[in-house]
């Protein structure tokens, strides 16, 4: 990797200050994407601001009808949290199936959604549960947060401080892992909450997306039969050596049905 200045602030305010005014400064949460990128010399930041020392950013709280997860909370902590398991077991399941044990013990929810890798798992849950993303400067709705391939609504110097997930009446995440990387080749998060039914798809397209036709059908009849004939178009879906766009489109339907079945169990 190239040389850079390394900082490990103890407070969010210090982190924001360190990032301010430096065009080439990069925040680092778990580093699960940034460090491999640095090692391959694909990024050349002037400064890396490690958020790992900021205690206020990590932790899980239940606030009324919501589970609030700090931006620097590790996947392993979400996966094993009794609060998450009891309020939204599908979210704990999702966290438990990210990467491998090393990744789960380093990677964070804030880092994952801020990076917005098209094959990441968390965007599925954030959109599927209609979560609210809180940053040091404000709040974003799930639908407005994810903008496109590796693109979010975050502005420069804006850091994810927490994500608030409403409790679900029913929810499940079904992931078809890429055989090699085990990222989501297609991941479907289905949830029925007070706000209605949502079907969010990650891995299949350049960015997480909802399948309105399935949501409408499930709102009337929350069963896998209700969506068995609803196909998503292959146009615009990802295509690579592991899956063609057509195969991904097919898998969206299969994974959505299986998610509904799992949610009904």
């Amino acid at each position: 990797m190239y040389d850079f200045h390394y900082h490990r602030p103890k407070t969010l305010a210090d982190a924001v200050n360190l990032l301010k005014g430096k065009d080439e400064a990069r925040p680092m949460s778990g580093g699960m994407t940034l460090i491999p990128t640095l090692k391959q010399r694909l990024a050349r930041p002037s400064d890396v601001v490690d958020l790992g020392g900021i205690k206020e950013l990590a932790g899980i709280k239940v606030e009324g009808n919501n589970v609030v997860i700090g931006g620097m909370t590790r996947h392993a902590d979400v996966a094993s949290s009794a609060d998450v398991k009891s309020a939204i077991p599908a979210l704990a399941y999702l966290a438990e199936h990210i990467g491998d044990p090393q990744v789960r013990n380093r990677g964070t929810i804030g880092g994952s959604i801020a990076n917005n890798d098209p094959a990441a798992d968390y965007p599925g849950a954030v959109v599927g549960l209609n979560a609210t993303v809180t940053t040091n400067t404000g709040k974003h709705t799930a639908d407005s947060f994810f903008k496109g391939l590796f693109e979010t609504a975050l502005s420069d110097g804006e850091l994810v401080t927490s994500v608030s997930f409403p409790k679900a009446e029913k929810a499940a995440y079904m992931k078809f892992p890429n055989p090699a990387s085990r990222y989501a080749m297609v991941g479907v998060f289905v949830a029925k909450t007070a706000g209605g039914v949502r079907v969010a798809v990650t891995g299949a397209g350049p960015c997480v997306f909802r399948v309105k036709a399935m949501e409408d059908a499930l709102a009337k009849n929350f069963s896998s039969d209700a969506i068995k004939d609803i196909k998503v178009p292959a146009d615009g879906l990802n295509s690579d050596i592991h899956a063609s766009a057509e195969y991904r489109a097919h898998l969206v339907n299969v994974m959505a049905r299986r998610a509904v079945d799992a949610a009904n169990k």
Partner: protein, 793 residues
């Protein structure tokens, strides 16, 4: 001998203590004073002319010690890398041998081809400087798609090989085979691709070299499976450093699977440059360099036809194969698709007539050479695929069709129509045992139960044969091989009674330090902790050929036994003297020399001590010391054989294949350490399942970029991809080596792909699917099921 550590005992691996506690010593661990670090500039193009290389900015960068380009190598008259096996084509002409420069000077021929080497005070500085080297390329069309590599008008990789053809080789008499086909009651045909694999040893390739100005001696530490052979190639063909002035050390090496047999550019460059730089140079491949530049494996396109009579007897087999060589001929590349492939096409069967035609093609991809099994997995995939398909077409049980055509046990030694003479074997009991272990009878019930869960269950057989234990030197010489294939051993007792086994074989994960010690513990009665196995250093071990082709025990172990016989013979003379008995009356039992019918006894240790402190010793008849060496050249290959039965379940909605049962019954001859053999079989099957379901080296067909160039896209098998294997053994001892052993290192990888793919085809047959390409990834399976429908929509 103690039963706990002798032949047949499950002795825990003595080397594992250091491997599992992080105290192994690998090339990269070497602390070399004043070391410099090399980094290679590699071609980003699959095929391009190098117009110019500007190193001026790089030379001015901090920490840079030296920069070398292909021109420097050419000016220094460094020889090219060699292909050590001359294959003669069907007209008797030697194969085309295009040059393989150590560093590309005017043309790059695959992505990853070396263009320049930067040597700097640190690895980071070397990388920084490498980025400042400006190479001006003129990109040319690349020849990437193997199926079209020999087509007219395909881009030419080397002018020395017109039409990209290295050889057009054949074995068997085509007219005889054609005549048999004309009379056949049934002909089964297949078109298959044996997918290209990337070896992925856990330790990447590494090299470190040092030059001693005072003595003029070079030392190269390399991740080699055969340090003596590497030294021979570097000395005699490439660098011209006399063998006695070059020491090659292969210390602990973390896996090879064939990929570390060969002589590579980087270790050559590092050695050459060490004297010019005047400081040691270290290089360790990054993982992406391993993907791009380790010799790959397999990569065949094959059409085959099997002729059968009305009863299902095989009449003849016809095979046409295009084999990928990559952009340059690697060390043993030419032999793999000929003498290690076509000569195995008889399999376990009495097929009387076989014709095979193999065309070796150049492409703008990484060189292809031996990889675990080397040619034999490709042969097994052809035979076992076509036999299973024939059984389906004839509505015969696949086990019955195999049994009907097995070479009977009474027919050994058995001369095949494709050169090899099988020394021993008994195949029917193997398949019977496999069927029993796999509960073949219960399969239809399991298939029905799976169907009730929405899963398609299938079962597949693979009855393999391999020729390994490379090999009788004179046969190898007649076939064009450039080296002898014996192995060496030296047994060196110390005065206090402990012993060093020095072997020319090399262990890079196989457990030789345990297995070889067991041989001596068994034969000489020396406790395991008094035995040290020394390997991997040309300065300390006798010249030897290294480890590959499942040869270490059958050939290297036999050499150790020969040397042990010499120790016993000498010990008898010493003991006879000490016991005042006649040598003829001395017997050696359980580590002690005795005179039959008396209570006279001399432990081996006492004889050894007497040999080193010869105060009471027959000096007029024998020399002092207890240090014997032996060279063993085998009379034939060894022929392990076995049957694997795989059961898979397929999710028809997603195309996901799960291996739910996998049985392997092998005949490895006598077994020295069953635990180590199990480990070899487990690892081999996992690699075979990897090839069948997961692994695929994919190049972009236009640009020649390696798409599966990291673990993000190259699917290595993981523990949860396979079930617990069920293993069994049948033993027919090898009749021509002193241990009666065959080889076990490659068998799993040889047999498994066909077993898995036959199971996949069996599972999908009810849907009318006739062919799934290997690897049977979810995408390939889904496309086989739904492809036609999707295309129509």
């Amino acid at each position: 001998m103690t039963a706990a550590t002798g032949i047949g005992a499950r002795v825990l691996r003595t080397e594992d203590k250091r491997f599992l506690t992080g105290t192994g010593r690998y090339v990269d661990d070497l602390p070399l004073a004043r070391a410099t670090y090399a980094h290679f500039v590699r071609s980003p193009h699959a095929h391009a002319k190098i117009k110019s290389i500007d190193t001026s900015a790089a030379r001015a960068m901090p920490g840079v010690v030296a920069i070398f380009t292909g021109k420097d190598i050419a000016d220094a008259k460094v020889g090219g890398l060699i292909c050590g096996w001359v294959v003669k084509d069907k007209h008797g002409q030697p194969h085309k041998a295009p040059p393989h420069p150590v560093m590309a000077a005017d043309t790059v021929r695959y992505v990853g081809d070396t263009v320049a080497m930067v040597v700097a005070n640190s690895h980071d500085e070397a990388k920084d400087a490498a980025e400042a080297i400006k190479v001006d390329y003129d990109a040319k069309p690349a020849n990437v798609d193997l199926a079209k590599a020999l087509d007219k008008g395909a881009p030419e990789v080397h002018p020395e090989a017109p039409g990209n053809l290295i050889y057009d080789w054949e074995i068997g008499v085509k007219a005889d085979v054609d005549a048999a086909f004309a009379k056949a009651a049934h002909v089964t045909k297949i078109d298959i691709v044996n997918n290209r694999l990337i070896p992925n040893a856990m330790e990447p390739r590494a090299a470190a070299a040092e030059y001693d100005k005072g003595t003029g001696n070079y030392t190269l530490w390399s991740t080699s499976q055969n340090p003596h052979v590497l030294r021979l190639i570097l000395s005699a063909f490439v660098l011209g450093i006399p063998e006695h002035k070059l020491r090659v050390i292969a210390p602990d090496v973390g896996g090879g699977f064939g990929s570390k047999i060969f002589c590579y550019n980087e270790e050559t460059m590092v050695t050459w440059a060490a004297s010019r730089v005047g400081r040691p140079i270290k290089w360790t491949a990054e993982r992406s360099e391993s993907f791009q530049t380790d010799a790959h494996g397999r990569d065949h396109v094959t059409h085959a036809e099997l002729a059968l009579d009305k009863d299902g007897k095989f009449l003849a087999l016809k095979v046409e194969t295009i084999a990928n060589m990559g952009a340059y001929l690697s060390t043993f590349s030419t032999a793999v698709p000929t003498y290690l492939y076509a000569t195995l096409l008889a399999g376990q069967y009495t097929t009387p007539l076989i014709y095979a035609n193999v065309k070796a093609a150049l492409t703008n991809t990484a060189p292809v050479d031996a990889y675990r099994g080397a040619g034999r997995p490709e042969a097994t995939y052809v035979i076992e695929s076509i036999v299973s398909k024939a059984a389906k077409e004839l509505k015969m049980d696949p086990a019955d069709l195999r049994r009907k055509n097995f070479i009977p046990s009474t027919a050994f030694p058995y001369q095949t129509p494709v050169a090899l003479q099988y020394d021993s074997g008994n195949y029917p009991p193997i398949i019977d045992e496999a069927i029993k272990i796999a509960d073949y009878k219960g399969f239809e019930a399991r298939r029905a139960e799976a169907k009730s869960r929405g899963k398609l269950r299938g079962i597949g057989f693979s009855s393999y044969i391999e020729a390994c234990g490379l090999a009788p030197s004179q046969v190898i010489g007649q076939l064009g091989g450039g080296v002898g294939q014996w192995e060496s051993a030296q047994l060196k007792f110390n005065p206090t009674g402990n012993i060093q086994i020095l072997t020319g074989a090399h262990s890079h994960g196989q457990g030789h330090e345990t297995t070889f010690a067991q041989l001596i513990s068994d034969k000489l009665g020396v406790p395991m902790d008094q035995i040290e196995v020394v390997h991997g250093d040309t300065a300390t071990t006798p010249f030897g050929m290294g480890s590959y082709g499942s040869r270490s025990l059958a050939v290297g172990g036999s050499a150790i036994m020969k040397a042990a016989d010499k120790i016993i013979a000498k010990g008898k003379k010493i003991a006879a003297h000490l016991m005042e008995a006649s040598v003829a009356d001395v017997v050696f039992e359980n580590g002690t020399f005795k005179v039959a019918g008396t209570d006279k006894a001399v432990p081996l240790g006492q004889a050894v001590f007497a040999a080193y402190v010869p105060h009471n010793y027959p000096l007029a008849e024998i020399e002092p010391g207890m240090d014997e060496n032996a060279f063993y050249d085998p009379a034939n290959f060894v022929y392990p054989a076995g049957t694997q039965i795989c059961e898979v379940e397929i999710d028809p909605e997603t195309g996901v294949v799960e291996v739910v049962n996998h049985t392997a019954v092998d005949d490895f001859g006598n077994i020295i350490n069953p635990m180590i053999v199990e480990g070899q079989v487990h690892g081999g099957i996992v690699q075979g399942v990897g090839q069948a379901l997961l692994e695929n080296a994919v190049y972009d067909k236009e640009t020649g970029q390696l798409i599966s160039g990291s673990y993000m896209d190259y699917t290595m098998p993981r523990a949860d991809d396979v079930p617990s294997f069920k293993l069994g053994y049948k033993v027919t001892p090898c009749p021509h080596n002193p241990l009666g052993v065959k080889g076990c290192g490659e068998a799993g990888a040889i047999a498994a792909p066909a077993a898995v793919m036959n199971a996949v085809h069996d599972a999908l047959a009810p849907l009318g699917v006739s062919h799934v390409p290997m690897p049977a990834t979810p995408l390939n399976v889904w496309q086989a099921i739904h492809g036609a429908r999707a295309a129509a929509e």
